[in-house]
Symmetry: C2
Subunit: 234 residues, 2 copies
DNA sequence: CCAAAAGTGTTTTCGTTACACCCATGC
DNA sequence: GCATGGGTGTAACGAAAACACTTTTGG
């Protein structure tokens, strides 16, 4: 690697020293199941945090960009390809990783848990309810909180929650999802009114099956009204 | 540095490879002068971007955290210490820096230009109007746009603009500042009403001096109503 | 028939917008 | 006295919130 000449006025440290920082990405992968918002975590196997839950992450390779690294992790862990991903914040406290200086770029992503029956049993991968996760390894609890906060802001005016749902869903499911994310109760009539007004939904003229009560209508996301969702880069 | 054992399952690349990424911070330093929003830039001296404007940035040292690195740059370049700073986004395209793999964490900060008569003439440091900056080095134009967009979102409901103004200011100056940031015209009566309702201002019972028209009242930011502003970490 | 959730409108409230005239100062 | 911006209030509008009853299905 060539010298970084933009920074060469800094004589006190050699280039070699500047490269002693490692870079990782961590993905807060949200899912929705049993009327709860969940996050995909894995049992940590480094001795300082043995047995604690950890987010899914990996070091960034020198030849891949930050999005690419995140999509690679998502693919490796969930088998999913076409996933909503958003960069949130970079965490870089000097001692956040016991093994050395590692700076991590936190992302959140949204997946439909049902699309992904995969790779769960082998490692200690686990969908954990977001509101009920006590301790985590590293600074991952803080990263999770930050990403959850960002998700809450995002859903307020962007149609991203559909990434957490199956193609067809009822208004009850949709409302329950919002309630889980925002951790508040919503008024059913106002909720429905608002969604119909925003024109985010397409009525499929189908009804729910196998519910122990009056079945509700099924809808899909009005994708046509928006651009295509963010795509995997390469 | 010890081995990063959390990632040791990755056998394909040696640890040495992973440390071939350098990390920098870049600061989009906003100021307000002559009814314009400005950004502090410096003439780039690397050959690929010779003479283009560049943001102020530097490599992160192995023993300083991300905030610390940003505050160091702000101190070195403006002499200012107690500055508003906010992390915005991390940019990491593989080829964003011609000299090698450099990932940069972009921040914006807000300073009062008048507090800072310093260090301007020596290097090619320069306050440039934000709306009138054509080409920049690296991906700095994109970084600037992203930070400006974030600033616009931020000012909509957080009292941060006061960092761009002197201690005492008139409502005209405040409104002109919002108009510069948002790039729109605002209604004077509604603007005043809103600020008084929000209780963000303290009436100083003083008047402007040396204005060629009826002097306006001076106000200061109602700091007491909010916590202290973000402080330098160390 | 009972339980559970679906479906449906109206009223009130509150914040936002639009808008015009007189006043104080410097020149 | 004229130019410049300071200072002020009200009406219209639109978005969000509060609120209850009837309908449909499964069991």
């Amino acid at each position: 690697m060539k010298q970084i000449s933009r920074f060469s006025h800094l004589g006190e440290l050699s280039d070699k020293d500047y490269f002693r920082i490692a870079l990782s990405v961590d993905c807060v992968i949200f899912g929705f199941e049993d009327d709860e918002l969940k996050v995909l975590v894995i049992k940590c196997n480094i001795k300082e945090y043995k047995g604690k839950w950890s987010l899914l992450g990996d070091l960034v390779r020198p030849d891949e960009d930050l999005e690419g690294a995140s999509y690679r992790i998502l693919k490796e862990r969930t088998g999913l390809d076409d996933v909503y991903l958003e960069q949130v914040q970079t965490f870089g406290k000097v001692n956040r990783h016991p093994a050395g200086r590692v700076i991590t770029i936190a992302n959140f992503s949204l997946v439909n848990i049902k699309d992904h029956q995969l790779k769960l049993s082998d490692n200690e991968l686990h969908w954990h309810p977001v509101n009920d996760i006590s301790e985590m390894a590293f600074d991952h609890k803080e990263i999770l909180s930050t990403c959850l906060e960002r998700l809450r802001e995002k859903v307020a005016d962007h149609p991203v929650v559909f990434n957490l749902l199956p193609k067809k869903f009822s208004l009850r499911e949709l409302q329950s999802l919002y309630e889980s994310i925002l951790n508040i109760k919503l008024d059913r009539r106002n909720f429905r009114k608002k969604f119909f007004m925003m024109d985010w939904l397409v009525d499929l003229d189908e009804l729910e099956q196998d519910v122990p009560h009056r079945p509700g209508k099924l809808y899909k996301f009005n994708q046509a009204k928006f651009g295509r969702k963010p795509k995997k880069v390469s």
